[in-house]
Every structure is written in structure tokens, then in C-alpha cells.
């Protein structure tokens, strides 16, 4: 079987297309690269969707945390505390078993016990909490002069938020938010190691890497392949966020050297 055949049979194996049986003897480098790459599709799926959806919830939660109404502020604070204060690994387990018992009572919710939705919900809430903390910090750091200038121009309410507060918040939060995005993609590798089942061996990159490591007793091939994929993924995220920051800061002079991803803070 040539390498091209392998690619054809396994490139979309993680989504359920192509060869049904995973290779079980005579493992080739090509099989490992293809299957682990195929699994990476799930990591991108989980990471991208939860990041986009989490972005909106995070903005709402960050605003709620600055609210004067106790009934808005307290729940937002608790939401952030619960999801930032406990391990994602435990959140996945708890989420899965919660969905299982929900399924027992409302069979219609059974769909939540499958990884593609259930794990996505957990990741979405988790990244929303972390991003909300970042956005909250940025909201606090908006220069007062900007807000006063907006008032002086007669902006208020929604217009002031959309034109002044929100863009400035994003600009200030961007480096830390880039970091959050990178770690979110790393966190997606946990999904299939918690309760969520990889039905018909449709798993993510780490699932296949550990499959090969278990079968070959040689961790020195699959894990470096996985590492290579993730370094590429990390670089693409940094690249995308760099484009985002260029757009956010396009009114500022001297673009070069203005933006640097900050890798000091980790989740």
C-alpha cells in the first residue's frame, strides 16, 4: 500500500470516512502522520467553534461583571470563579456524567452525551470564563480620557459601546486573548481522555497518537508527530491573531513592532 493510498483511506478517518479498520500491524510512518493529522480536524473543530461562541458569552459576562446590578454581577463572578477555579479535566468528567443523568430523565437531551456536542458545550463555557476574565481586566484598563471624549461627542449607550468601549477592550485584551486561544486548542486534546467516548475510534490527534504509542510501544514516533502538528497549529493561531491585531490597531501610527504575543500568562 503506497503512502498515497494510505492518505486516501485514512485522511478523514476521524470523521468516519474511508477505511473502517485502523492499522494494527506493520505500522508505517505515513499511517501515523495521516491518522494523527486526521485527528487534528477534531481539535480544530472543538477549538475554533468554542472560541468563536465563547467570545460572545465572554463579552457578555465581562460586561455583567462591571454592572451595578447585583443580580447581574454576582452570577457572572460565580461563573468565572467556578470555571477558572476547577480543572477542565474534572469539568469534562462532571459534564459528561451530568449529561448522562439528564439523558436518563429527558431522552431528547441524549445528544449531549456525544463528544461533538457535549464536549463542545464544556469547552465553550470554560473558554468563555477565561476570556471573560481577560476582557474584564481590559474593560477596567480603558483610559478614562477615551470614555470622556466619547461623552463629549455625545455618544451614549449602544453607540458608545460599539464604537469606543468594545474596540478598545479588544485592543487591550488581544495579547492575552491570543494566549488563551493557544491554550484552548491545547486543551481540546483532553476531550477523548475523559468520559466522552470516541465512537468507532473516531478520535482526535492525541487519541490516535496514544493509540500508536500503545500498539508499537514506541512513543518516540507518534508524539513528536503530534508535537509537530501542534506547533504548526500554534503558529497559525498566532498568525491569524496577528492579522486581527493589525485590523484593530489600523488607526495607530508605526504598526511594526507594536504587537507581540505575550506568553507570560498561562491558564
Amino acid at each position: 500500500m503506497s503512502c498515497w493510498d494510505t492518505v486516501q483511506s485514512y485522511a478523514f478517518r476521524s470523521l468516519g470516512y474511508g477505511e473502517r479498520l485502523l492499522p494494527s500491524t506493520d505500522f508505517t510512518m505515513c499511517q501515523q502522520v495521516t491518522l494523527i493529522g486526521s485527528g487534528l480536524l477534531w481539535n480544530i473543530y472543538f477549538g475554533a467553534l468554542s472560541l468563536v461562541a465563547g467570545f460572545f458569552l465572554a463579552t457578555a459576562v465581562a460586561l455583567a461583571r462591571t454592572s451595578h446590578h447585583v443580580w447581574l454581577r454576582k452570577p457572572a463572578e460565580w461563573f468565572v470563579f467556578v470555571f477558572r477555579g476547577s480543572p477542565l479535566f474534572i469539568q469534562f468528567f462532571f459534564g459528561y456524567f451530568l449529561f448522562l443523568s439528564l439523558k436518563g430523565q429527558f431522552p431528547g437531551l441524549g445528544i449531549l452525551t456525544s463528544a461533538w456536542l457535549g464536549a463542545l458545550v464544556v469547552l465553550f463555557l470554560n473558554t468563555a470564563a477565561y476570556s471573560a476574565e481577560i476582557f474584564h481586566g481590559a474593560l477596567q484598563a480603558i483610559p478614562r480620557g477615551d470614555l470622556e471624549a466619547a461623552d463629549a461627542y455625545g455618544l451614549s449607550g449602544w453607540t458608545k459601546f460599539r464604537r469606543i468601549v468594545w474596540p478598545t477592550m479588544l485592543r487591550l485584551a488581544w495579547p492575552a486573548y491570543t494566549n488563551e486561544a493557544i491554550f484552548l486548542f491545547h486543551a481540546t486534546t483532553l476531550v477523548f481522555f475523559t468520559g466522552f467516548p470516541a465512537i468507532q475510534q473516531k478520535g482526535d490527534a492525541l487519541y490516535y497518537a496514544s493509540y500508536f504509542a500503545d500498539k508499537t510501544f514506541n512513543p518516540f514516533v507518534p508524539y513528536p508527530i503530534l508535537a509537530g502538528y501542534f506547533i504548526l497549529l500554534t503558529l497559525s493561531i498566532v498568525g491569524l491573531f496577528y492579522l486581527g491585531s493589525r485590523r484593530l490597531n489600523r488607526h495607530l501610527p508605526s504598526r511594526s513592532g507594536r504587537w507581540r504575543a505575550k506568553f507570560q500568562v498561562i491558564r
Partner: protein, 295 residues
């Protein structure tokens, strides 16, 4: 009183249920987690210090080694490292023992899909009691955690060393200190206040990484929560119940929330103490508020 649980009322049933032998092992496994933290944190800090010193070394190969240690571990999901190191370290130890203990073993170590060493080189020996297997597994986990978090700590300490004002080192050199003296007597004592926010964050991340012990094959709190929570039928236990894993994991969630909250409070207190008298904004604010209090 616990001899026939089916006759008990709710409260005493729960008292008996929560003190079964397996539950006691569950409670003991919290000790495993705390032990892991207690060993890993200082070892990782030491490794981090070494890594940071390497990264700022003037000898180029040493500096590259330090910097690649930091950036490779940081660019890849930590769980991949956990899974990798546990097998790789085990094989490395066994391979070294194999070379030393069985020099005339004829066969190759890697045979197709198998890793075969001579029986005397097995770690732990196949005849070893169960506790040795558990201790060995725990040790592997500790080394793995330390290596991964050492890289994170190296990153934080490297930044902190660069954050100490250059003038401090120059002053030390002007007083005739050698580079080594300036490093140990001026830079190292001053860097902690810059490192503490990063290290506190790291401590929180370390706490939140402890459930991954489960993936490394250690019987930790996650293992027991899954084991105890699963539904039990009357044939196998005196305490039959449905699927309670959700409640067990809720308990773990609360445990971690409390743990991180307590850590946060203590670390904030430590930060206040370290900031005292330092030439940074926080120290200045403390000085001013003390002055206002006196006036």
C-alpha cells in the same frame, strides 16, 4: 452497626457507606495528590531555575538548550508530554538497566512492535510486591510533572531575571562584585517579587493539572471517583446504588474550587509581604498608605 446496611435508615446508611474500605482509599488518594504537589513544586522550581540560568547563559549552545527546553514544552499540549514521558522514562530506565545488568543479552531491544529487556532489568521486577509498582508509577508521574512544570517555571524565572533593573547589577559591579556575586547576591534576591505573579499562576495551573495523574495510571481521586460512583448492583455490594459518578465529580469540583481559593488568598498575602519595601509600584503604594495611616 454496619453489618446489615439494607435495614438502616438514610442517615446511618450514608455514614456506613462513606466509611467503607474503598471510601477510605478514596480519602487517602487526596493525600497522593497533595504529596505530588508537595514534591513537584520544589523540584519544578529547581529545574526552572536551572533552565532559566541555561537560557541566559553566554555560551550559545547552553543558551539554545535552555531556550528550546522552554519553548518546546510550551508549544505542545501538556497532556501529550505526560503521556509521552511516562512511557519514554520507563523505557529509558529499563534500557539503561538492561545494558548494565545483562551485557550479553543477544536480542535486540526493539523487536517489531515490542520493547523487550531481560527479566532482571524490568522495573519494577515482576516479582516485586504491589506497593513497589505503585511507588514506581507515582515516581514516574512526579518526574514527568516536574519536567513539564520546570519548563513553565523556567519561562517565568527567565522573565523575572530580565525584569530586575539593570542599574542594580551595574551598581553591584561598580562595587567590585564579580558576575557570580552580583548574580547570587543582587539579582536572585530581587527577582522573586517579579516572579511571584507568574509563579502563583503556575501553582494554580499545577493544582488544576493534578487530575491528569489518572491518565498516568496512578490510583488518584479521579480513579476512585469513577470506581465508587459507578452503579452497583446488590449482588456485588452491600450498598447498591445507581450511577452516582456525577455527584462524586461534583465533590471533586468543589474540592478543587476550595483548594484554588485558599491558595489564592495565601499567595496574595505572600505577595503583599514580598512587595514591602520594593522599588516598584506596589511597594510605593504600600509605603504611601502606611504614611497616610500614620498622619
Amino acid at each position: 452497626m454496619c453489618s446489615d446496611p439494607s435495614t438502616l435508615n438514610d442517615l446511618s446508611w450514608f455514614v456506613c457507606y462513606l466509611t467503607t474500605g474503598k471510601h477510605l482509599s478514596f480519602y487517602a488518594s487526596f493525600g497522593t495528590v497533595l504529596l505530588l504537589l508537595a514534591v513537584t513544586a520544589p523540584v519544578a522550581l529547581l529545574l526552572g531555575f536551572g533552565g532559566a540560568m541555561l537560557a541566559r547563559s553566554r555560551v550559545a549552545p547552553l543558551s539554545w538548550a535552555g531556550q528550546s527546553y522552554i519553548s518546546i514544552v510550551r508549544g505542545v499540549p501538556d497532556i501529550a508530554f505526560f503521556l509521552f514521558f511516562v512511557i519514554a522514562l520507563d523505557q529509558a530506565f529499563e534500557y539503561v538497566r538492561h545494558r548494565v545488568l545483562c551485557p550479553d543479552w543477544g536480542q535486540a531491544v526493539y523487536q517489531g512492535n515490542d520493547f523487550v529487556v531481560c527479566p532482571a532489568a524490568k522495573l519494577p521486577l515482576s516479582s516485586a510486591p504491589q506497593w513497589e509498582h505503585e511507588v514506581y508509577g507515582f515516581l514516574l508521574a512526579v518526574i514527568t510533572f516536574s519536567l513539564v512544570f520546570g519548563a513553565f517555571a523556567a519561562n517565568v524565572l527567565h522573565g523575572a531575571m530580565r525584569a530586575v533593573p539593570r542599574a542594580q547589577i551595574e551598581t553591584a559591579e561598580a562595587y567590585g562584585m564579580t558576575q557570580r556575586q552580583a548574580f547570587w547576591r543582587v539579582l536572585v534576591p530581587q527577582m522573586w517579587v517579579y516572579a511571584l505573579p507568574g509563579l502563583s499562576n503556575l501553582w494554580m495551573v499545577l493544582i488544576k493539572a493534578t487530575p491528569l495523574l489518572f491518565l498516568l495510571g496512578v490510583e488518584d481521586i479521579v480513579y476512585w471517583a469513577r470506581d465508587l460512583g459507578g452503579s452497583k448492583t446488590p449482588q456485588f455490594t452491600d450498598y447498591p446504588h445507581g450511577d452516582w459518578r456525577m455527584w462524586y465529580f461534583l465533590f471533586l469540583l468543589v474540592f478543587y474550587l476550595a483548594f484554588t481559593k485558599v491558595s489564592e488568598v495565601l499567595l496574595n498575602r505572600l505577595m503583599r509581604r514580598l512587595t514591602h519595601g520594593q522599588a516598584i509600584a506596589g511597594g510605593e503604594a504600600q509605603r504611601k498608605s502606611a504614611l497616610e495611616g500614620a498622619a
